[in-house]
């Protein structure tokens, strides 16, 4: 059965194919790597609701305030594919770089799709209230240094084995954190996209005139 978090289109995007077709050999390798990721991923997440004024993170920027307009509380969440994926990519990086980069892309897509499902699950759980989309530390107006506080507030280290280092990078690597606004009234869809991203000045996709699909 196909794993529902596998997303070939997003994987190819991460691998830089920009709509081009990979060769048959690469397609075969991608299929194999998807299976490896499927087998080694242990996706899990935690989330916790805070009243906006009790939120332990700095959400005072205009951009974040805008994102959280009308929200009485926020959900902090953190998700990870676990240390097994890091170990797999580490092992492949020694013996087979081609599979290593393909697995890296597959795992990147996998955690995105997993988080989409988590978002849906949360939306259901918090219904009839409404949720904003997830906003991550490092996006505009949400300092990357909030990463540590977010991890701390969730107790993510002991609960799902997720930690941030001194440079606020997540460990295990295939992990996503963020903040989601909770509102009693319907939320107008704001545009997600490059403007919010802190990578926008140096992003390889943008340099090519493309985007990552976010």
């Amino acid at each position: 059965m196909k794993d529902r978090y596998i997303d070939r289109t997003l994987e190819l995007c991460y691998l830089g194919y920009r709509g081009n077709e990979p060769t048959a050999e690469i397609v075969r390798l991608i299929g194999e790597c998807e299976e490896l990721i499927s087998r080694n991923a242990k996706p899990r997440y935690i989330s916790k609701e805070f009243a906006v004024d009790a939120c332990p993170l700095d959400i005072s920027s205009e951009r974040l305030k805008g994102h959280l307009t009308g929200c009485g509380s926020v959900i902090l969440f953190a998700a990870t594919l676990g240390a097994g994926i890091d170990a797999l990519i580490r092992r492949l990086s020694v013996t087979d770089m081609t599979r290593a980069i393909i697995c890296d892309a597959c795992a990147g897509a996998y955690i995105e799709r997993y988080c989409d499902e988590v978002s849906e699950e949360l939306a259901e759980k918090y219904s009839p209230r409404y949720l904003t989309w997830r906003y991550a530390p490092g996006y505009e107006g949400f300092d990357i240094s909030e990463q540590k506080k977010l991890i701390e507030a969730l107790g993510a280290v002991n609960k799902i084995g997720l930690c941030a280092n001194e440079s606020f990078m997540l460990m295990p690597q295939k992990s996503i954190t963020g903040i989601i606004g909770v509102s009693d009234s319907k939320i107008e869809k704001t545009r997600r996209g490059c403007a919010f991203c802190n990578m926008k000045d140096s992003c390889a996709f943008r340099k090519e005139g493309s985007h990552c699909g976010f």
Binding site: Y17, A87, V94, M97, A100, D104, M169
Partner: protein, 795 residues
């Protein structure tokens, strides 16, 4: 009543005489029950709510607890960093309040120690040594404050728990109770199973082993059973009151249900019983009631010899292959890799052997001109980060062995001790301290005895000396020593006889380095695998072989079928049924260029070998390999092919380079590298996939690459560049937060070695920014880095 007993009449050892020792129950949930709110910080409750804390302790003592854990969970240096109180104060307050609560009773007070809230290497960046140090501070503070014992609780990572246990044993004289948190699949979320946990902890000499938190008693039962089967130590079980309701957060099991679910666990032989989240004094009272009527019938301990890593358990009740390839003896390329710090070469040897069928890997990094101790630590850490088979640490130097044992996340084998007095007295205490298994060589001051009987006597001596130290018999493996058949033909049968005698008369498992047998003979493989068959037939369990030779692994697999170990030949069929038939494409029609561009590694290898019969190595590189890569590179630049294919081609060219290297090696020639380059991901930066891509491409353009890894401190990069006189350094950074480290590295590098150029790359970098931080070159991708290197070295 417990509270009427006299104080301090018992210690932990006396308590162990009881059928059951009652621990306490949930603490956090009790705080909340008494009006503590989520805003109050639990780790500060000893300062903010001392009476309330004491009250909870008292209620557990009244319920029947023999041991209470002080409210010191989370009293770690990191949690208290920059706060009003230090963690030492929190510990001393916590212990003081608990002791006050226990005053006038013989209840013991435990220092409750939690994980540090850091992620250990290899997934995280916190080192084993740092963890050991932090736990050292915690346990010393606990002993100073007067704790009666140390309870290490709620651990998921057995590596972190190992650090805590070692610290507790090294820095205090208190009993150590260690428990982990398991999930429904019977593993902790870092992948440690009950059997691995039990073996590792038992080997370190803790006083009790067990489980706490996570699940209710019903779901914990299977893992408790597994632990009981794998240890002779008292077993701790502190389950939650079931699972919390996802909406209300309330736990589902009440005291009486808890009791009925704990009853079978108590019957199985768990001695230290209590509760964790959601359990309350009435749960402990229920356990006390049960403890008076349930009689333990402890399930049997499995004394079969075994070794394990943090996640893989290997029972040595049948032949297991020890891979011998991580050893520089007689291997030029390996020696070179050790001297150049080429860890990846060594890791490839590890992974290759495991894929080929090794169950255990021997690790020997002894070379006269390197720091063997430092290298052993480095290689053990690196190997256990890419594979999870158990390791055998191989050195003649006890210090090297000890350094390796400390950082090894598992129960290792030590290779080796022998019958000489000096060896016995240096090695056996290490075996005991780290709970390792050990290989005993049947030689002594007089050398290797000729006769089997004499070797048997040495084996007996090693066994009795080990047992005198309390080392269990099953942890001794005897090496009856393989001599070379071409020199001492009659010695072969003595070795085989000794194997038989040790196996049958001492009941010990045996080890043999097999390949020694064939030195000086043609067709060594034939001799080796025939000898291996004979040795297995005589009882050999642990052949040390080169698993990359298919016929050697094949002998072991076939032996397991024919001796009835591999039931229904299942593993044999699995190994050989799907063997891929040789590629149908005739290699004649494939060119090297085609093989490289499409990633046909086997063909590329074959064609390179053929070309080398008529062409010089340099010629193959310069007229065929590099031009083929150039074509691929151009196609990549123009967007005709994409990253995976670029790397696939580079990887394939890498296979060709390996063939060339081996050929030159056999002719005692060396390939002149086109230039030596250091690459590293800067300090604070842990994403290294981009750097690894660059490594692959540079290596396959013929450059010698020293890959220093990720999160590399500035001074390490500078030191290596200066010592090795490196003229080009490549640095990678992914995040804006690590660009400072990159800039600083460049600055220090330019000061220490002005003739060294720096190229930089990584997601957040731009041409302008590269210039601004003083880099000489900006590489937008891996292909660009190869172009820069080619131009820089003029090749």
């Amino acid at each position: 009543m417990h509270s009427e007993r006299k104080a301090h009449t018992v210690d932990f050892k006396t308590l162990l005489k009881k059928d059951y020792i009652l621990l306490d129950g949930g603490f956090g949930t009790e705080l909340i029950k008494r009006g503590f709110t989520a805003e109050d910080r639990a780790e500060l409750s000893c300062f903010t709510h001392p009476e309330l804390v004491k009250d909870i302790h008292r209620s557990y003592i009244e319920a029947g607890s023999n041991i209470i854990y002080a409210n010191t969970f989370n009293a770690t240096p990191f949690k208290f960093e920059g706060g009003e109180h230090t963690f030492e104060e929190a510990i001393s307050e916590g212990i003081r309040i608990a002791k006050q609560a226990a005053e006038g009773t013989d209840v013991l007070v435990g220092l409750d120690v939690s994980p540090l809230g850091k992620l250990l290497e290899p997934t995280g960046d916190f080192t084993f040594e740092e963890a050991y140090e932090a736990f050292g501070k915690i346990v010393r503070a606990g002993e100073k404050a007067g704790a009666d014992l140390i309870g290490l609780e709620t651990f998921s990572d057995i590596y972190e728990l190992r650090a805590a246990v070692l610290a507790a044993k090294d820095f205090t004289s208190l009993p150590v109770l260690a428990s982990l948190t398991f999930e429904e699949n019977g593993r902790t979320f870092t992948g440690c199973s009950g059997e691995c946990a039990a073996r590792i902890l038992q080997s370190l000499g803790v006083d009790a082993i067990g489980v706490n938190c996570g699940l209710g008693p019903d779901l914990l039962l299977p893992v408790v059973k597994e632990i009981l089967q794998n240890t002779t130590l008292p077993v701790i079980v502190k389950p939650n009151a079931g699972l919390p309701d996802p909406v209300t957060g309330k736990f589902g099991i009440d005291a009486s249900q808890f009791g009925s679910l704990m009853e079978p666990i108590m019957k199985m032989g768990a001695k230290l019983i209590g509760g964790c989240c959601g359990t309350a004094p009435e749960y402990i009272a229920k356990l006390r009631e049960l403890s008076e009527k349930v009689k333990p019938e402890r399930i049997e301990y499995d004394s079969a010899p075994c070794v394990c890593s943090g996640s893989t358990f290997v029972r040595i009740s049948e032949p297991r292959i020890i891979g011998e390839r991580i050893n520089p003896t007689g291997k030029k390329l390996f020696k070179e890799a050790l001297r150049n710090g080429d860890i990846n070469y060594i890791l490839r040897q590890a992974i290759e052997q495991v894929s080929a069928g090794a169950d255990i890997l021997d690790i020997n990094v002894g070379l006269p001109d390197i720091d063997e101790k430092e290298m052993m630590v480095k290689i053990v850490k690196a190997v256990q980060s890419v594979t999870d088979v158990p390791l055998q640490l191989d050195s003649t130097n006890p210090e090297v062995l000890e350094a390796g044992l400390r950082v090894y996340n598992g129960k290792a084998i030590i290779n080796s001790v022998n019958g000489e007095e000096a060896s016995l007295s240096a090695i056996l205490p290490l075996v005991k301290k780290y709970g390792a298994a050990v290989v005993g060589l049947t030689l002594d001051e007089n050398g290797i005895p000729k006769k089997a009987q004499e070797r048997f006597e040495i084996a007996k001596k090693i066994l009795s000396r080990a047992q005198a130290l309390g080392i269990p018999k099953e942890d001794i493996f005897i090496d009856c020593l393989t001599l070379t058949a071409s020199v001492e033909q009659d010695a072969v049968k003595e070795t085989l006889l000794a194997v038989k005698m040790v196996t049958e008369n001492l009941g010990l498992k045996t080890v043999l380095g097999v390949s020694n047998i064939s030195f000086g003979l043609p067709n060594r493989e034939l001799i080796n695998h025939t000898f291996l068959t004979m040795a297995l037939q005589n009882g050999l369990t642990l052949p040390i072989i080169n698993p990359n030779i298919a016929s050697m692994v094949g002998v072991v697999r076939a032996y397991k079928v024919l001796s009835g170990i591999d039931r229904s030949s299942a593993k044999f069929v699995e190994a050989y049924n799907n063997a891929v038939p040789a590629q149908a494409v005739a290699s004649k029609e494939i060119t090297l260029e085609y093989a490289i561009s499409t990633g046909l590694k086997d063909d590329a290898k074959k064609i390179t070998s053929e070309l080398l019969q008529t062409l010089e190595a340099e010629e193959v590189i310069n007229t065929r390999l590099i031009p083929a890569l150039d074509v691929i590179g151009t196609q990549f630049e123009s967007g005709k092919i994409f990253l995976p294919q670029l790397i696939l081609s580079a990887d394939t060219a890498g296979v060709c380079f390996d063939v060339i290297k081996a050929k030159l090696q056999s002719e005692r020639k060396q390939q002149e590298p086109k230039g030596s380059i250091i690459i590293a991901t800067v300090k604070g930066d842990i994403h290294d996939i981009g750097k690894n891509i660059v490594r692959t491409v540079l290596e396959n353009y013929g450059f010698e690459v020293l890959d220093l890894g990720k999160d590399v401190p500035e001074e390490v990069i500078v030191k290596e560049a200066v010592e090795r006189d490196i003229k080009l350094v490549g640095l990678s950074a992914l995040m804006t937060t690590t660009l400072g480290a990159m800039e600083n590295t460049i600055k220090l590098l330019k000061q220490a070695k002005p003739d060294c150029a720096v190229m930089v790359g990584g997601a957040v970098l731009t041409e302008d920014y590269a210039e601004k931080i003083g880099a000489d070159f900006y590489a937008k991708d891996a292909k660009a880095s190869a172009d820069i290197a080619k131009k820089y070295f003029g090749v």
